[in-house]
Amino acid sequence: MHKSIIWINLLIWYREAIFEKRYLNNYLNGENNMKKLLSIFAVAAFAFSANAGTLDDVKNRGFLKCGVTTGLAGFAAPDDSGEWAGLDADMCRAVAVAVFGDRSKVEFITTTGKSRFPTLASGEVDMLARNTTWTISRDVNLGFEFVGVNFYDGQGFMVPSALGVSSATELDGATVCIQTGTTTELNLADFFRLNGISYEALPIETNDEGKENLFAGRCDVYTTDASGLSSTRAAASNPNKWKVLPEIISKEPLGPLVRHGDHQWGDVVRWSLNAMIIAEELGVTSENVDAQMSSNVPEVLRLLGVEGNYGEMLELSNDWAYQIIKQIGNYSESYEANVGPDTPLEIARGLNALWTQGGILYAPPFR
């Protein structure tokens, strides 16, 4: 938007220059041109500094642009009717609902591991929900802001049930399928050294290769992120023949992120996620949300916009959180529908359970 001003300015300046040249009229009288050039830079500086209000941009555009994966089981993948479904897709929809009150006002932009950051940085998407691990370099150096964690992942192990192993510490001497050149390789080496056991690595390149090698019995153990293990297991012709061990040996907090510097927009995304977690804490679900409007718990009333003006603070409508819960559901509902024990992925809540239930999912209070 703002760059067009510069463009028009440049155009005017150029036309004037041509005009002057045609009449041989002090075209190279540097001072006059210099002033014009400076004025262009001044406009440019103003234009760039003014380029911040993502929330306004989204509202004006009429829909949210959300970056997701090109397809990852349970997190974001197109379903049979072409609708995006998954934990990350729900995150995008929740933000769209918060802003517009309509879960369909979102456009999913597919990004790969390589293209996700440039796409966000260039403003092509308003936010990323692309199972991205929150690390210091991404948060600080790349100029993004992680607004929370919607899935705590970590590196795990999968073995054939027939191996009769119940813990990763019993894997002494096992052949391990491992993707080369990744952090998983380092984590694995550290874990085995710490526990004083040995292993033999079978290097592989892709997830598919790891799956084929494990299923063919060329390695005893396959290690990668736990969510990846679950989808590998679900892809087996008989999932019960395979087992994911309880040990998780690395931290992979996955969460939505936005560009640095636009705190208002960061708040909208952060509290859309928090609203879903708080709703689970308070027992508000998409089914009982209407009944909860007349609840006697103050925090429920604040969350649903019956009391207080928290929506106004975020420059959203006051029923934004109500709409999220009504149209998307609380965190637990989204989890159970996409990755939970009833889905083919069968990922237990584990770390992703609420802090009151043995997990570490914890949202700041709604007040």
Partner: protein
């Protein structure tokens, strides 16, 4: 005399089926051994592939007669003894494979565009078509019609390219890339051979730069760097950016192919044209290029096929082409683990298109007698 007039039949062993077999399959003992080995391999392979793809495969219903809606219902997952491929995933996802996420109410526009594409290609491919001239007019305006049809405008509601996908994206990228790269490639090839140093240097630089980097790098350049060079008001579409990269890439290769053809034309042809008083453009258009392009048909088709397959690389910039939709399907928890079926289907579609292209080039070669026969006729 009588004996001489009597026509004797050739020995049985050199004619008919037996003769052909002897000449081609059992000429000597190594030949016979190889033939037997290949027959054995085919005997092992063909029944198995036919059984897997057709006879034991599920198409829409599994062996219990239920309609398949997820991978657990596939016969081979219900009972590993009892099933081949599970084509239901293709059946259910067919729409996505062909149109991507194009809205269902508007999909007739894509269908019309597909039919029009066939009509536009017809006069180009088949020279004896009746009323070919009028068809050609249609071919020239087809890109404009297709743009408005697919993208919207002129009364059609807009469908952003982000909703395009599957075969639609593959064809748009492939056709536009090939069609635009051809004229650009010709200009670059002529430019590179030009005697004007600035033009020839610029063309050489361009070609060498583009050929020197992989397509993936160019795609990233188009996706990530191009917007930085453009003013923010001009919001260049993602697909257009990829198209620019693909076209640049293809035109550099096309230029080198055509330059090869140009270099095969003997200097006598240039001299003859010049001695008739032809200008540079007339000489190239009427004398040189027709011959050069004729002898470069095989490599032109070769690079075009290469490009058509290379379009699958757009997945890395987040555009879901045919292969991308296949991968997306594999990530749906309902269809996990059906990779054989999906990759088989995608490769089959690619094979149909590329095989068609290569057969057509053979037909052209035969028709135009592309062998080098300079001066002989």
């Amino acid at each position: 005399m009588n004996e001489m007039n009597e026509v004797r039949k050739p020995p049985v062993a050199t004619t008919g089926i037996i003769g052909w077999l002897r000449l081609n399959l059992f000429f000597n003992w190594t030949n016979s051994l190889i033939t037997l080995f290949v027959i054995y391999c085919l005997y092992q392979f063909i029944p198995w592939i036919l059984d897997w793809t057709i006879f034991s495969a599920d198409f829409k219903y599994n062996y219990l007669g239920e309609q398949i809606t997820n991978q657990e219902m596939c016969s081979r997952n219900l009972d590993p003894e009892n099933g081949g491929a599970c084509w239901a995933v293709i059946y259910v996802r067919f729409y996505q494979f062909i149109y991507g996420f194009y809205p269902k109410v508007e999909v007739w526009r894509v269908n019309v565009a597909y039919v029009m594409l066939a009509l536009a290609l017809l006069p180009l491919l088949y020279a004896k078509l009746p009323y070919r001239k009028y068809f050609l007019y249609f071919t020239y305006i087809f890109p404009v019609i297709a743009y408005f049809l697919l993208n919207g405008g002129l009364g059609f509601t807009e469908v952003s390219t982000n909703k395009w996908g599957g075969l639609l994206v593959t064809l748009v990228l492939g056709c536009t890339g090939i069609a635009l790269a051809f004229p650009i490639g010709i200009m670059l090839a002529l430019g590179r051979r030009s005697k004007l140093p600035v033009i020839s240097m610029m063309c050489t630089l361009f070609i060498e730069f583009i050929r020197g980097v992989p397509l993936i790098t160019l795609l990233f350049f188009g996706m990530v760097m191009l917007p930085l060079f453009l003013p923010e008001g001009i919001d260049m579409d993602g697909l257009v950016r990829v198209l620019v990269a693909v076209t640049l890439f293809q035109s550099a290769y096309m230029a080198e192919v055509i330059r090869g053809g140009l270099q095969a034309i003997p200097p006598g042809q240039y001299e003859a044209a010049k001695s008739l008083g032809m200008s540079y453009w007339r000489m190239n258009l009427l004398i040189i290029l027709p011959q050069a392009i004729r002898i470069s048909i095989p490599p032109i088709v070769n690079t075009s096929i290469g490009l058509f397959k290379d379009t699958t690389l757009v997945i890395i910039v987040g555009i879901l082409d045919l292969l991308g939709i296949g991968r997306g399907t594999l990530a749906d928890t309902n269809w996990l683990g059906l990779s054989y079926e999906i990759y088989f289907f995608v490769s089959l579609v690619f094979f149909i298109f590329t095989f068609g292209m290569s057969r057509y080039s053979l037909y052209l070669e035969k028709k135009l007698k592309t062998g080098i026969n300079m001066g002989a006729d």
